[in-house]
């Protein structure tokens, strides 16, 4: 392979006490790829992506980001995490700070940028997600969709090489979903490497390169988009797709 | 450290310590029961429909709570000296009125925490206001506030130590007396503190065993 994958999971297993959550999961993501992970609740999708930036520990297997073993004790995690952007289901904006400050915080403290550079970048990103006028607004005065877009800007502010999304639209009212998805589509078409846990199959159809289907902690299917939607290989994936596309 | 530990004189005075402990327990038990009575009355008034009652209750609570307990004690022992109340009863009165204010606040909050619909449901089945309060609202409110009441009880036991200032021969008073006799300063105070600790722990856990009490942290709410 001329281009080594930027993310490589190999036989990753994780349990909470005696309950297994991830079983022998292996997955690679190449630079510029958009991979969608779907599956029923409790299948381990969110846990899997939270292992990639070491927010969740794993017991066995290996996760390499650009060749660096994520679980190794010698790895500088804060530094690694500045190369990976993450967007959470419940936005997780810092409630005591304005949108602008939210986006500036890690730039200043994790990357060491000057406040003025950070501010310029933050303002540019807010404009990019369509919220230039909300720079001084506090999260409690923003709608869910607006908060999520600020959260995306916050993640992009560190110029990450990869963006991880954990069910970014699951907590949103229907009218706001498309605003957020539009931002994500723009990112994808702009060449960002993305790993997205979602139920939004319309989004997957538009920009995904591959679909990964998980069930009970296992990666059941991992196929190119077209193949997945026309002829999923496994029965479980077929059932899931049937239910999800039925409405 | 030059200090030589010697617990023997403490043990020798164990009868004084026991007397003090019993007085503390009596004072606390009495204070708690009376404070509960006062607190239930004032607390219920604080959650009443009538605005006048609510204001009266709030006034009681604010006045009694914001005056230091020591000043309460002096008020009965020195201020109302003409009543010739024995110190024990001065302390009891002070503890009752002061802690009663805290109990009242806790009960008022507890009553407020019971969903509105419960009262409506009870009235709809033909119960009188008083029956609804007694049979439906109160049991639920008490279940909610048991952890707070446990913490108030333990606070009351600690507060009773101030009775020593107005010459009630409870545990702290005896501690000072024994210290004066034996000069075993550290041993006395550590022993007495350990006794308070034991008493407070026992009472807190005991109250939490009341059936239906929510198993919440033993750390106190309530700023008694």
């Amino acid at each position: 392979m001329t281009n080594p994958p930027i993310i490589a999971l190999e036989k990753v297993s994780k349990s909470y006490g005696t309950s297994p959550v991830l079983r022998d999961c292996s997955l690679t993501v190449a630079r510029g790829e958009v991979v969608v992970i779907c599956g029923p609740s409790g299948s381990g999708k969110s846990t899997l992506i939270k292992c990639i930036n070491a927010l969740e520990p794993y017991q066995s297997g290996s996760i390499r980001f650009d060749g660096v073993e994520v679980g190794a004790k010698s790895t500088n995690l804060p530094k690694l995490r500045t190369r990976i952007g993450m967007v959470f289901q419940h936005f997780e904006l810092y409630p005591h700070m304005s949108a602008l400050d939210n986006i500036m915080l890690a730039q200043v403290h994790a990357l060491g940028r000057s406040r003025s550079d950070a501010k310029t970048r933050a303002e540019a990103l807010l404009a990019r997600v369509g919220l230039a006028d909300k720079a001084d607004a506090f999260p409690l005065n923003l709608s869910g969709g607006q908060q999520q877009r600020v959260a995306i800007a916050r993640a992009l502010a560190l110029d990450p090489e990869v963006m991880l999304f954990d069910e970014p639209t699951s907590a949103l009212d229907p009218e706001m979903i498309s605003d957020v998805l539009d931002v994500m589509v723009a990112l994808a078409t702009g060449g960002m490497t993305m790993l997205v846990v979602t139920h939004e199959m319309g989004f997957a159809r538009r920009v995904a390169d591959r679909i990964v289907f998980m069930d009970h902690g296992e990666i059941v299917e991992d196929t190119p988009k077209a193949a997945f939607f026309t002829a999923p290989k496994t029965k479980r994936a077929q059932e899931f797709l049937g239910k999800i596309l039925a409405h | 450290m030059q200090y030589h530990f010697d617990f023997a004189p403490i043990w020798a005075n164990r009868d004084l310590i026991l007397d003090g402990l019993l007085t503390t327990m009596a004072l606390s038990a009495l204070g708690l029961i009376l404070a509960l009575i006062v607190g239930v009355i004032v607390g219920t008034a604080g959650a009443a429909q009538s605005r006048a009652l609510r204001i009266a209750a709030a006034t009681y609570v604010e006045v009694m709570r914001n005056i230091p307990l020591l000043v309460h004690m002096y008020a009965w022992y020195v201020g109302l000296a003409f009543l010739r109340l024995p110190p024990f009863w001065c302390a009891t009165a002070a503890l009752t009125l002061y802690s009663g204010a805290y109990v009242a606040e806790t009960i008022r909050a507890g009553l407020g925490a019971v969903p509105r619909g419960q009262n409506l449901a009870a009235l709809a089945t033909g119960l009188t206001r008083l029956q609804a309060l007694r049979l439906v609202i109160y049991p639920q409110a008490l279940r909610i506030v048991t952890p707070s009441l446990a913490s108030l009880a333990s606070q009351l036991i600690k507060d009773s130590s101030l009775a020593s200032v107005i010459t009630v021969a409870e545990l702290t008073y005896e501690a000072s007396a024994i210290e004066g006799q034996t000069f075993r300063t550290f041993e006395v105070y550590i022993t007495i503190s350990a006794l308070y600790l034991a008493l407070v722990t026992l009472v807190t856990f005991g109250l939490m065993l009341i059936p239906g009490a929510r198993a919440q942290g033993v750390q106190g709410f309530g700023d008694a």
Binding site: K50, L55, L77, P78, K79, L80, R81, T82, G85, M86, F88, E92, L93, Y94, P95, H96, L105, A106, H109, A110, L111, P139, L140, A151 | M1, Q2, Y3, E62, V63, N66, I67, P68, L69, L70, V71, Y74, A75, V78, G79, A81, K158, L162, S164, V165, T172, A175, E179, T185, F186, Y189, I190, I192, S193, Y196, L197, T201, Q219, G220, D223, A224
Partner: protein, 216 residues
């Protein structure tokens, strides 16, 4: 204002000033210490945990008067140093309130939803940075009412310092009463004064909370 109070006002006000001083000292010192202890307990630092547990459990199960006696009589005897009543009282109050504030702050830290810590870490902040810039500021804002109720409690507790001979407000008033024998007036006066300042302190807390609380 009654004559007996007016006559002795300078003395009483001096006592009030001492009360204010001790309270201010203890509030500031206690909050700083309480923040340190509360954060350390929240982080469950293994070496310190048993010592901190013991300290908090001891203070919370011991009457304030006992704590003051220990600070003024027992510890100096044990360790062989001399101390003034004022210093012993200040030391005792700080040690006392810090234990309570530590628990309140710890509860506040735990009530911050874990997702926020994850979000902060995900952007490359270290644990220490995440605590300093995100978790602690949010927790502190949310526990303002609890902290202020402890501060008001401390203000009332300063009266107990009179028992070990500190000439704060209550102590001064009882001394005046010893001279003047007008107990109802004098005690009424100090009761009203405490009422007023405690009420003001509570009100200040409510205003601060209204301004700073973060509603999520």
């Amino acid at each position: 204002m009654p004559e007996v109070v007016l006559k002795n006002l300078p003395f009483l006000l001096a006592g009030l000033r001492v009360t204010a001083e001790i309270a201010a000292l203890s509030i500031v010192g206690g909050t700083v210490l309480g923040l340190a202890i509360g954060t350390l307990r929240y982080l469950r630092v293994p070496l310190l945990a048993p010592a901190l547990d013991l300290y908090v459990a001891f203070i919370r199960g011991t009457p304030l008067l006992m704590v003051l006696f220990i600070c003024y009589f027992a510890l100096p005897a044990l360790l062989g140093y001399k101390t003034s009543a004022y210093s012993a009282a200040a030391f005792g109050f700080i040690a006392f309130i810090a234990a309570y504030l530590a628990e309140d702050i710890r509860a506040g830290l735990r009530s911050v939803k874990p997702g926020l810590m994850q979000a902060a870490l995900a952007t490359g902040l270290t644990r220490a940075q995440a605590l300093r810039l995100v978790i602690v500021p949010i927790a502190l804002r949310n526990v303002i009412p609890t902290l202020f109720s402890q501060y008001v409690r401390l203000l009332k507790f300063t009266s107990v310092a009179s028992v070990i001979g500190v000439n704060e407000f209550t102590g001064s008033a009882m001394l005046v009463n010893g001279r003047e024998f007008a107990p109802i007036t004098i005690i009424g006066f100090i009761a009203l004064t405490y009422l007023a300042i405690c009420f003001l302190l509570s009100a200040a807390g409510r205003v601060l909370y209204a301004r700073l609380a973060v509603r999520t």
